[in-house]
């Protein structure tokens, strides 16, 4: 038959006919076959061990995509062939398979999944069951991330993990928060944690990662957990795993949110009248005030007469908005699984020309070639555009005289609103095209792997992670800007190309020796190379504003050109053994050797051992019988970890270019600039960590407690030198610091009753005490560097303002060399002179404690959560109170209660025209930085499956969220500040983009 058909010419009637017959027959046969298997409707109710009705349980006919979910009463209805098998699954319960037989009503009670205590946790170079974990590791899951409008990866950690401080000042789009795990330990080297993305340690940043792609994040905190990352683990490690496909029916998902953001407030400035009065006072103070006519310029007089008071700050703010769209495809079969997503994120800040746009394509693939080999990749390609990274018109607005003439009579902007030649109109900064400040970044990162199951229990894996970034930063300043003030435009471009790869060979061996002994060995060899090429040019005198930075050749002046190459290499070998006895006693021992190019020739290699012991008390007979205790595990770990986070070339003495000329010919020269230090070596931290993991009453109360002490030695210290040596500083290994602290993470399920109402609370609390133990000269304070034994790594050491010199204190003030109305500084050493010996400690940016509480309520499909975070006891410097508090009648000033003969306040000194800032003004800016913030309130609704399916969806969730709706702080209530949250440097920049609150609506759909 086949042969004859083949012989027939293509498209002949006979061929078409025979095909039709074939299809008809086979369809018929199929129909008959299917109908032979009788389809019946099956109904039932699903409950759990702890509650009678479970809504949302997935009920699927095994081996098909035919399925449903239970409704609010736990009931389901499904058409299923007789003799087929149903698979029921629900989070927190064990999966159950039920053979239908001939039944049409099936009631099921699902068993609580004891193994949920035994979820798998990602650790360095492997995974481990939670009950087997010996280190201090905290996890954040995808659900915590995708439920919220989270804009960057760091934000997902915020407040969720004890011991992790995520700090962000202001709201500039695209800026990334600082993450500190258990405080700072190093002066000169980095204090940033190591990020590991899908097993590949990253050298570049994590700003390009799309938070919606993250399946889980594990934060490794103690030596036992981080020592496997050796030289890079000293500041903690964050393991990021992205979502991977699962075999079964493919899903298409769409997640989106849109939000509006608004500045919380703005710093209060003087209005026109208040400014005029402050200016008069500034001239009264010097005895030069006669009358308004001789003091004020014509524009100012006009402003006073007409009651003009331009709110430049308000005029420069807008409502921001934020939006995110992600479309995802995932699925696969037993051999191949995939997860793909495309994400668009846009954050338009509250200041014009400040925005950030991120576009990320992700492809994760896993393929099993055969029983032995598997390969896969996790790749993202990113394109992001950031505007306004170094642009902020607010600093000009904060200074601008409010009496000025903002607009010309014809309605156009008046470039110089007053006669002050230095102050141009802040509004002209945001005229389209006046200033362009743009960074465009392209990055592609791939984590490629291949594994081989060499023998039973023995696997080999190779990871290769190329990471390629091209970044271009452009800046243009037009003629009508404060930077140029009518001079011809200026522009600059900086390019960076970065290529970085990690190549790792990993061998893993797992063996159970008898019933009671489990053994696991991991060996890794790892190579990481980083290469950065930078170049830049800056010019001025661009003939046409439209050219911006697109034709440097036309510029009349080249201000500077540069290029640079930075390379570094890290080579590592490591081994780890996990041994478990009877699931009661667990031991982890690891050793890592790291060689880094950035250190001196004799000191490239560092060795970092660690050990941890865990005792699973709940598996001991005497506790096993206590029904209230599900899990009780005590852990102790001790180990050394290194820090190489310094820039390359610091071991080398380098020259710098110097410019000079002889006559009119240029004479560039080179002179010693940095002192080399060929003995520079690894900084090393030893951590002792004691932890307790527990779970009580079937998980109603669970959590962990940790106490630790980290001693860091051989600090990579940029140590200041007496300048008479010809150098300012040298990087050395000296000194010692200690971090000690306590962390608690507790989750409780407060209410979980049959009505479907559930209330759960997550509580984190942590303290970290930073201390300098030893410096270059032993236990001796280093005042020049601001380092003091027993104090945190940076402190506020300054004059203490006790008030203002009052009229009746004139003589005493005079004796100190002060005048009435000036800042009164405490003579700390009582020697009758105010000099640098009178500086005292006034705190540091390190809080006494931090903590957060998240409350989650759910009822049926409805969920509500709110997250409150507090940081208490830190001291901050508010630069608003110095740089915008100059009180000399020239620039506008923040609205402060200043001293006058008739207003004898102790807050701020008297304005005086003959100062560019009040004397000892740094003492006016030191405040208590404690705060409490409601980080977010989130309300969501998960539509019942029945409704979702009518809409053709697998699931549908709608939510609404408010980010940072409330900040409570003495800095706000007493000193008129906006947001006391700072980076660890404890500085509030006068140029910060105001903190915002954002209200968002979002949607998660699965098809």
């Amino acid at each position: 038959m086949k042969k004859t058909l083949q012989k027939r010419p293509k498209g002949s009637p006979q061929r078409l006919w025979s095909r039709q017959v074939f299809f008809t027959l086979s369809s018929l046969a199929f129909f008959i076959l299917v109908s032979m298997q009788s389809i019946a409707q099956v109904t039932g109710t699903v409950g759990g061990e702890d509650e009678p009705n479970l809504p949302g349980v997935s009920v699927v006919v095994k081996g098909t995509t035919n399925g449903t979910t239970t409704d609010m009463n736990g009931d389901f209805k499904l058409n299923a062939p007789a003799n087929s098998t149903l698979v029921l699954s629900f989070v927190g319960y064990e999966d159950q398979e039920i053979a239908i037989g001939n039944r049409t009503i099936i009631n099921v009670t699902l068993a609580i999944d004891a193994a949920s205590l035994d979820e798998v946790v990602v650790v360095g170079y492997g995974t481990v069951r939670k009950s087997q974990m010996t280190g201090a590791i905290s996890s954040v899951k995808a659900k915590d991330i995708s439920d919220l409008p989270i804009t960057n990866t760091q934000q997902a950690l915020q407040g969720r993990v004890a011991g992790v401080d995520v700090m962000q000042a202001g709201s500039r789009p695209g800026s990334e928060p600082r993450v500190l795990i258990r405080g700072r330990r190093s002066f000169g080297a980095s204090n940033d944690p190591l990020y590991v993305l899908d097993g590949i340690p990253l050298a570049g940043g994590i700003g390009d990662i799309n938070p919606n792609d993250i399946a889980s994040m594990e934060v490794l905190k103690d030596a036992s957990a981080t020592a496997i990352y050796g030289s890079r683990g000293a500041n903690g490690v964050v393991l990021i795993s992205t979502k991977r496909g699962e075999s079964g029916k493919g899903t298409v998902s769409y997640d989106a949110y849109y939000g509006l953001s608004k500045a919380h407030n703005t710093i209060q400035l003087m209005n026109g009248e208040q400014f005029a009065e402050a200016k008069r006072e500034a001239y009264r103070a010097s005895g030069n005030y006669v009358d308004d006519a001789s003091l004020f310029s014509a524009v100012e007089l006009d402003g006073i007469a007409s009651g003009r008071s331009t709110d430049y700050l308000g005029g420069l703010l807008r409502n921001g908005n934020i939006q995110n769209h992600q479309i995802g495809f995932s699925g696969g079969n037993d051999n191949t699984r995939f997860n793909m997503s495309l994400n668009y994120f846009k954050d338009n800040g509250v200041i014009p020309n400040q925005d950030f746009n991120r576009n990320v394509l992700r492809i994760n693939l896993d393929h099993k070639i055969n029983k032995i080999f598997s390969v896969g990749m996790s790749t993202f390609i990113n394109y992001s555009i950031r505007n306004g990274e170094n642009f902020n018109p607010l600093s000009g607005a904060l200074r601008e005289n409010p009496l000025g003439e903002t607009y010309n009579p014809d309605g156009s902007l008046n470039f110089l609103p007053t006669e002050d030649g230095l102050r141009s109109n802040p509004f002209s900064e945001i005229v389209d095209g006046a200033i362009v400040d743009r960074r465009r970044s392209n990055r592609s990162f791939s984590g490629l792997y291949a594994t081989a199951n060499i023998a039973k229990g023995l696997t080999y894996r190779v990871n290769f992670g190329p990471d390629f970034t091209i970044e271009k930063y452009d800046r243009f300043q037009g003629t009508y800007t404060n930077a140029r003030r009518l001079a011809p435009p200026a522009a600059q471009t900086n390019n960076e190309t970065r290529f970085n790869y990690a190549l790792e060979n990993i061998l893993n061996y797992e063996k159970n020796l008898g019933e009671k002994h489990t053994l696991n060995f991991t060996g890794v060899q790892s190579l990481q190379k980083d290469r950065r090429e930078l170049s830049g040019i800056s010019v001025s005198g661009i003939p046409s504003e439209a050219q911006q930075f697109n034709n440097f050749g036309n510029a009349s002046i080249i201000q500077g050109v540069s290029s640079r190459l930075i390379e570094s290499t890290l080579l590592s070998y490591l081994g780890r053994v996990n041994y478990g006895f009877n699931d009661k006693y667990l031991l982890t021992v690891s050793m890592r050797a790291d060689g880094s190019s950035v250190f001196g020739n004799n000191t490239k290699w560092g060795y970092f051992p660690a050990a941890a012991l865990a005792w699973n008390m709940s598996n001991e007979g005497f506790i096993r019988d206590v029904s209230a205790i599900d899990l009780m595990k005590l852990r102790v770990s001790y180990g050394a970890i290194g820090n190489q986070g310094i820039n390359p070339y610091q071991t080398q003495g380098l020259l710098s270019q110097r410019s000079y000329n002889f006559g009119s010919s240029a004479a560039f020269g080179y002179a010693p600039n940095t002192i080399g230090n060929p003995d520079l070596k690894w900084e090393s931290s030893t951590t002792l960590n004691v932890g307790l993991d527990f779970s009580l009453y079937r998980g109603r109360i669970s959590g962990s407690l940790e106490a630790y002490s980290v001693n860091t030695r051989d600090l990579l210290l940029s140590r200041n030198l007496p300048q008479s040596t010809g150098f300012s500083a040298v990087t050395t290994n000296v000194g010692q610091t200690r971090n000690s602290g306590f962390e608690a993470t507790i989750s409780t399920v407060n209410v979980n009753n049959g009505s479907g109402f559930k209330w759960a609370t997550d509580f984190t609390f942590f303290t970290n005490k930073e201390q300098i133990i030893e410096l270059a000269q032993g236990k001796v304070d280093d005042i020049g560097n601001g380092w003091f034994i027993g104090k945190p790594l940076s402190v506020i050491y300054d004059f203490e303002k006790t008030g203002i010199w009052q009229t009746n204190e004139a003589d005493e003030a005079q004796s100190y060399g002060f005048a009435v109305g000036e800042n009164k500084i405490r003579d700390a050493n009582n020697d009758g002179v105010i000099n640098s010996d009178d500086r005292v400690f006034q705190g540091s940016g390190v809080p006494d404690f931090s903590g957060g509480i998240t409350n989650r309520f759910s009822y049926k499909g409805l969920d509500l959560s709110f997250f409150v975070f507090a940081r208490v006891g830190q001291t901050i410097r508010s630069n608003f109170h110095t740089s915008n508090n100059t009180l000399f009648g020239r620039y506008n000033n923040i609205l402060v209660d200043y001293w006058t003969p008739t207003n004898p306040t102790n807050d701020f000194p008297r304005p005086n025209e003959n100062q560019e800032s009040p004397r000892f003004n740094s003492s006016m800016a030191i405040f208590d930085g404690s705060f409490l913030k409601v980080r977010n309130i989130n309300l969501g609704y998960q539509f019942p499956a029945s409704i979702a399916s009518k809409l053709g969806m697998q699931s549908l969730r709608l939510y609404s969220s408010i980010q940072q709706p409330l900040i409570v702080s003495p800095y706000i209530s007493r000193w008129g500040g906006i947001d006391p949250e700072t980076d660890i440097d404890a500085q509030i920049s006068g140029n910060v983009s105001p903190s915002t609150w954002t209200s968002t609506i979002g949607l998660n759909v699965k098809f």
């Binding site: 291949a450 201000q559 070339y649 010693p672 007496p722």
Partner: protein
């Protein structure tokens, strides 16, 4: 193992093998090769050990001069708080005029001067120490470059010692962290400065084809300056005056230098390399070689003209930072005899021309309510003397007289104005900064002669300078007689001739007259100045960072 091999072969997954073997190959390199750090885009310290690197280091040794001369740092420390100049409206460094408690060891300028000049000294030390060991440099060039480095080292130490007194006398290149440091005596620094200049002198060229390098001429001029300064120190002696006299006379007699015929041509743009120039710090308009520096003194003496009626900021005048304002002494005691002596006329800017047209209400001149101007008209005239209201009223522009001067509007020293800058707000000017010129040497020689009671001979030098300063045809009227010759005359004559050129603070200190004359002539500084102000405070960082702190590196008394 056999199994693995088999399965690989069986499956023929060549790609996988390639990945694996590549991985092994890449990591199979020697560790030492992989971890070696190569400096590519920077220049390592060894570069100086090559002939070309040595040449580059000796160029760089000059560059530190730019950190002090012609910057705000130098302006503040050379001119502020003297009898000729007091503070204007702007600037955060009025403490140098007020001599109040703010002038303390944390001050930025003392720190910066200390840091930058010690970097220069370290570079000189590198040249002096390494030079002889480098192969491939012709001996003549080597000798010249080492001589230049010694002269520069002496120059840096001389400036530092005048401000700070005793120093860290560091004569070897620094390697590694050094903190065992002690403070030498002031005398030891002077001894070293003289030693360096003396050793440099024979190996320096008489003149250099590269304008701005140290020459014998410059070194002899500086030797005169060092000696005349040392003479007034406790360890100085009369022999210093005769030495200064002899070096000064060498400068006058043995070289091709001569006074310019017209005082005004000293300040002509583009005339930096004139016949009166002896040693100048080099600047240029090429912003690439300016490297962030540039002569900034055009900013400091200019009054706020651009807010006045009919005026806006223009490149032809400049950018007014109004830091320095002449004292009454300058107007009324120094710049006298103005119908004969042209130096007031040729030092000050008297007219500002309108850049906007219209009718404007007057500001300082109350002789009329309004002035009406066209672009290019005189908007402000500053005659430098009082003018009656009636006389002023006749003029269609504002007349600012000294009695109207205040912090923002005052007599404008025009010597440094620089309309050739790239743009109106460009702070980097291209004029050379004159460290010393022949008239300075003549007046110094006169000073040494007076100190040696040779007033008649001193008079010749003084009259030579004075005659050049006359209005054309009035030279004879400038001549003084020997009866006029005394130190008071030197004080006034240097004020007239060298007004605002950066000599005054060190001059006053040399004469021991700083406190007396500030109390007399600088109203704002008078209440606070005291004996301790003859020295600047040692930067706190230096004291805090040396082993033993203040005990090993004591602060100057009173700070």
């Amino acid at each position: 193992m056999k199994n693995i091999f088999k399965s690989i072969l069986k499956l023929g997954k060549l790609a996988k093998i390639a990945v694996l073997s590549m991985a092994l190959m890449l990591t199979g390199q020697s560790c030492e090769d992989i971890l070696a750090e190569q400096v590519i885009s920077d220049i390592g310290n060894d570069y100086i050990n090559s002939p070309v690197g040595f040449e580059d280091a000796s160029k760089a040794a000059y560059s530190y001069l730019r950190a002090y001369y012609a910057q705000e740092l130098g302006m503040t420390m050379m001119q502020m708080g003297t009898d000729t100049y007091t503070q204007g409206a702007d600037g955060g460094y009025k403490k140098y005029n007020l001599y109040n408690n703010d002038l303390d060891p944390r001050d930025r300028w003392v720190r910066d001067l200390w840091r930058e000049f010690y970097r220069g000294i370290n570079t000189c030390n590198a040249i002096i120490e390494r030079g002889p060991k480098i192969e491939g440099i012709t001996p003549a060039i080597l000798a010249t470059r080492i001589a230049e480095a010694k002269a520069l080292r002496a120059h840096y130490y001389f400036v530092l010692v005048q401000h700070f007194g005793g120093l860290d006398l560091r004569l070897t290149e620094s390697f590694g962290p050094i903190t065992e440091i002690s403070r030498s005596t002031e005398e030891a620094v002077y001894t070293q400065v003289l030693k360096d200049y003396t050793e440099a002198l024979p190996n320096l060229p008489k003149s250099s084809s590269e304008w701005g390098r140290y020459t014998q001429l410059a070194a002899e001029a500086m030797l005169a300056k060092v000696h005349i300064t040392r003479a007034t120190r406790s360890f100085g002696s009369a022999a210093d005056y005769s030495a200064a006299e002899s070096f000064g006379k060498n400068v006058i007699n043995n070289y091709d230098r001569s006074l310019l015929p017209d005082f005004a041509s000293l300040w002509e743009l583009g005339n930096d390399e004139h016949s009166e120039a002896i040693f100048s710090v080099q600047f240029d308009y090429d912003l690439l070689s300016a490297g962030g520096a540039g002569n900034r003194w055009h900013l400091y003496y200019l009054m706020e003209y651009d807010t006045q009626p009919g005026l806006g900021r223009v490149l032809a005048v400049g950018r007014p930072w109004k830091r320095l304002r002449p004292t009454d002494y300058t107007y009324n005691k120094a710049m006298v005899n103005r119908d004969v002596d042209a130096r007031y006329d040729k030092s000050f800017r008297k007219v500002f021309y309108a850049t906007r047209e219209g009718t404007f209400p007057t500001t300082l001149d109350n002789s009329k309510d309004n002035i009406t101007l066209a672009v290019g008209d005189t908007a402000i005239y500053m005659p430098g003397y009082e003018m009656s209201k009636e006389e002023r009223a006749k003029r269609p522009y504002q007349v600012y007289t000294p009695s109207m001067y205040q912090f923002k509007q005052f007599g404008v020293l025009a010597k440094f104005l620089d309309p050739l800058r790239a743009s109106i707000n460009e702070t980097r000017g291209g004029r050379d900064f004159m460290v010393t010129r022949l008239a300075d040497i003549h007046l110094m020689v006169a000073e040494t002669l007076i100190q040696q009671n040779k007033n008649a001979e001193a008079l010749e030098h003084i009259n030579l300078v004075r005659r050049r300063a006359a209005f054309s045809g009035k030279e004879a009227e400038m001549n003084l007689t020997v009866a006029d010759v005394n130190m008071e005359l030197i004080y006034d004559e240097r004020a007239r001739e060298l007004l605002g050129e950066g000599h005054r603070w060190t001059d006053l200190k040399r004469w021991g007259k700083l406190i007396e004359r500030v109390k007399l002539y600088n109203e704002l500084g008078a209440p606070n100045i005291e004996e301790k102000h003859n020295y600047r405070p040692i930067p706190q960082g230096q004291i805090d960072l040396v082993d033993g702190g203040n005990a090993n590196f004591p602060q100057n008394p009173g700070y």
